[in-house]
Amino acid sequence: MPDLATPVKQVDVPALYQQHWRSMVRLAVLLVDDLASAEDVVQDAFVALHRRSEALRDPNAAIAYVRTSVVNLSRSVIRRRQTARRHLRVAEPEATPPADHDVLLRDEHRAALVAVHDLPSRQREVLVLRYWADLSERQIAQTLGISAGSVKSAASRGMAALHRVLGEQS
């Protein structure tokens, strides 16, 4: 009997999607600050994974790939948004989160998030990956495609900036 259905071992994208959708959207929300863009970013990241899923055999490698995509795509969203602001003709919706969105947060948290949002992308990414995703310095370096030293310096610069901003406010 001809065996046409030789299974190729590959990453199960839909399963990964089900499993990691929530944490990835949360990661993206922390980076881009609005849910609609965050969901788009995650969709696009999994579409990219889907494209690559043949090449990726290891679910851990796959999720690292998605995480990197989410970070990179989030950065693009922010960049596009900034470009759009420069060209005022362009209607970029949802550039700010809905008014009721952060109402549930405590003042202290809101101030911290605003300060994080105002950081340069790299510093924001490092802090989110470190304190929310709980990644090690090495994992952050791999995710961002930078050296561990750069992670360290981005983290310390980011923390210093937050100290400054939040210190002034209190």
């Binding site: 929530r22 922390l30 579409v47 494209r51 969105h101 923390m159 939040l166």
Partner: protein, 369 residues
């Protein structure tokens, strides 16, 4: 605040924000590996399009789609879900709506970008065409036409696209106009959905963006210019507003014959032509690309109502021009049924109403059905 304090605040803040945005019980929306996605109105091209297109190509090439479909329990992931992203309310994951399913492009394609001339929220006269610019000369307009959904006050409208070459926008060699058989109903809300991202635009071409447009119409203002009585008569919502003496183009610079639409307005502009350069021309309303206007011509009062002596414009007294400037808006119709110049064509301005409906339905440069 110590580093430890700050770290704790950050952890708590991130956690609170993440959980507020996406609840623990929120279900993922379906994974959409097709590249159809309705985005809010946006001019700029999405650089993701080629990526997404490539994803679909790779998926199809690898035959993954079949396996994928099986894994999702028979859910049709190829036809996909056009996910409309809300503009006012936070997105609720999973509230995708099923799209009219045309198959997405399945070959590696060159992107075609679509840009709409008008922005959301404007009010226009009833003669306004919806104008889209295309970044390439597409070879098949049928998917574009079939995907277009236009409603007038929430009811489906039976208009059609008409394609012509365009020089209006750099980088956009093709222009499409959408109109109904007759003018838009007055005082109406019109919306268009153009979910064409990923659809084929012909062999090797696919649209890279989806657009929406919402605008409204004002009063049905129809101005009629009679070149025998040298008057302009304005009828608004069926009621005559007034008759104004005019002077049209002289014999060697005649005013075009046909139906024109106000394209742009300026309270005071400069006009230049052969042998004249006149600034501070007041109450101007443009009707053609080459520069026919309604405008104040206080220097030509003697000829108003009597004699055609302009460079092609419709000269009016300053008071009348000002009054018309207040009454009219972009998209209002000005008819020159018996003017002495050449027939107004589509590309001379918003010359859409000079194309017969049967001709319009052919789609012009491209078949639309």
């Amino acid at each position: 605040m110590t580093d430890d304090d700050l770290e704790r605040v950050l952890r708590d803040a991130f956690d609170a924000k993440a959980r507020t945005a996406v609840g623990d019980t929120t279900a993922p929306r379906p994974l959409d590996v097709s590249i159809r996605r309705v985005r809010p109105f946006r001019h700029r091209s999405s650089w993701l399009a080629p990526l997404a297109a490539a994803a679909v190509v790779a998926a199809l090439a690898a035959g993954l789609v079949v396996a994928f479909r099986g894994q999702l329990g028979g859910q049709d992931v190829v036809a996909g879900h056009a996910t409309k992203i809300g503009t006012a309310t936070p997105t609720i994951p999973g509230r995708s709506t099923a799209a009219p399913s045309s198959a997405p492009a399945t070959t590696l394609t060159t992107p075609v970008h679509v840009a709409l001339k008008f922005s959301d929220g404007s009010q226009f006269g009833v003669g306004i065409p919806i104008i889209a610019y295309l970044s390439r000369k597409i070879t098949d307009a049928r998917p574009f036409a079939a995907a277009t959904v236009v409603t007038v006050n929430g009811r489906p409208a039976a208009g059609a696209w008409y394609f012509e070459s365009s020089g209006a926008q750099p980088g956009y060699p093709l222009e499409a106009h959408y109109r109904l058989q007759g003018y838009w109903p007055a005082h109406s809300k019109i919306s268009m959905e153009l979910p064409v991202k990923g659809l084929s635009a012909g062999k090797g071409l696919a649209f890279d963006d989806s657009l929406t447009l919402a605008f409204s119409t004002g009063a049905a203002n129809i101005a009629t210019v009679d070149d025998t009585t040298h008057t302009l008569t304005l009828v608004s919502d069926g009621t005559s507003v007034g008759t104004f003496p005019v002077s049209l183009g002289a014999t060697n610079t005649p005013t075009r014959r046909g139906t024109k639409v106000i394209m742009e307005r300026g309270a005071s502009i400069c006009m230049t032509g052969p042998g004249y350069h006149e600034c501070n021309v007041q109450w101007t309303q443009r009707l053609t690309y080459d520069g026919e206007y309604l405008h104040a011509a206080p220097w030509n009062i003697a000829n108003l109502g009597h004699f055609d002596s302009s460079n092609g414009c419709t000269n009016l007294s300053t008071a009348d021009a000002a009054r018309l400037y207040k009454l009219l808006e972009i998209g209002d119709v000005v008819q020159y049924a018996n003017a002495s110049g050449p027939a107004m064509r589509l590309g001379d301005g918003y010359g859409d109403w000079n194309v017969s409906w049967p001709q319009w339905l052919t789609g012009g440069a491209l078949a639309t059905r």
